[in-house]
Symmetry: C2
Subunit: 254 residues, 2 copies
């Protein structure tokens, strides 16, 4: 079976890693849109266009299921992708929400993500529909912090405190609604104290496992739209091993 | 006279502002590539392609001079733009370097900018050619900090200290080689102490004044490739007044 995954950059590799652990025989095609990263601060229209372009590219390999590993794209473009494509499309929002609802005792659930994800209110609406009380907060500095490798220490701590102060003692569960955030998990837990932290990667992998067959040759093809200076280092950091990749310069259809 | 200016986003508006003060009768056309911002972390090839696309768009208005307000694009694409275009092209690097050399007493000059700008070594080479001793440092968190509005206080101070510690007491002049950085100037000065800080916007405006005629209707047209959530707020913050703009969704030529 062939599965396609796309993300605005390298963050979605955390989802890819979890998927490969659950479905080792599947053939995976990953596309990171590093030429246009980040998606989190851009408009709905632009995110939708970029998402369709990424999906089109992956469809050319004959994928039978598409995973949208980017939270912003899942928030803004999932319905559009489901309408436009003939294959199942799995986003990161629903699996994360379902898992949070399962483990949360008081149903007071925090959601942190990019501006785009939080402003779309997709997480908040879904949580409210299912009887939880969400508090959402955009943390725009978390992605650049992680990409700069600053995940512990004084600066990471002050930034975590700056954003999460207003959530502290108000939630029992916290959804990390951005694929970069798991790398800050320790510092976040340290500040938030006794709170369950939900990292969507594993929730998504469980969801995909229900829909997929563990068949194929277990291959992996990585594509990026820009060969950014830090790329091979970040791939190794997240996947835990070096991995070759191809650069495809253009996605624009219009 | 018609002058075109482009930048990866809103930062170049600081250059536009300085230009309009010097040349109030000129008709300005500004393009901010907010759909693909930032440029600073992307590869040379991608920056060159984006720069040509931005220039092409502005040329369609009949501009007679092009200002590259983005430091990363100036560092990677200036020569290519000069070869490809029939009109004069002014970047931000040379004017900033010339001004720094003029005011620096000891010729120990620091340069801070994005990863792209620093890795290109364009500033360092130019300064060395002219007999100065440059020390350069990439400060990737400064742009997101400014865009988040965090320019003073504890977090801004720790981040400034984190990057500039190794430049302190080693330079007498510091070039802010990124159009976002002037907004952090106060915090930078506070940490660096007795150092002259060079903000390229004014240096560029002086250079353009030598090449341009102050003629026209004094109009301004702003274009952005994405209508990002924070855009009108940032335009007002930098230009000091509200300003209407158009969104042009596509630039890709290939």
């Amino acid at each position: 079976m062939k599965i396609g995954i796309f993300d605005s950059g390298v963050g979605g590799l955390t989802v890819l890693k979890a998927l490969r652990e659950e479905l080792p025989s599947v053939d995976f095609f990953y596309l990171g849109d590093t030429a246009r990263v980040p998606y989190g601060s851009k408009s709905k229209e632009t995110i939708q266009r970029y998402s369709l372009e990424c999906a089109d590219f992956l469809l050319s390999f004959g994928i039978e299921l598409l995973v949208v590993a980017c939270n912003t794209a899942s928030a803004y473009a999932l319905d559009l992708l489901r309408e436009s494509l003939a294959i199942p499309v799995v986003g990161v929002v629903e699996p994360g929400v379902e898992y949070a609802l399962k483990i949360s005792k008081g149903k007071r659930i925090g959601v942190i993500g990019t501006k785009g994800t939080v402003q779309s209110a997709v997480y908040q609406n879904l949580l409210r529909e299912r009887g939880a009380q969400p508090i959402a907060k955009a943390c725009p500095l978390f992605v650049p912090l992680v990409e700069e490798g600053i995940v512990k220490g004084r600066i990471a701590q002050s930034v975590v405190e700056y954003y999460l102060e207003e959530l502290k003692d108000k939630v029992d569960t916290l959804i990390l609604a951005c694929t970069h955030y798991p790398l800050l998990k320790e510092t976040i837990k340290e500040f938030m104290g006794d709170v369950d932290v939900v990292d969507s990667a594993h929730a998504v992998a469980q969801k995909v496992k229900e829909l997929a067959r563990n068949e194929g040759n277990g291959t992996l093809k990585l594509f990026f739209t820009d060969n950014s200076p830090n790329l091979s280092h970040l791939i190794k950091l997240i996947l835990g091993q070096e991995q070759s990749y191809e650069t495809i310069p253009i996605l624009c259809k219009l």
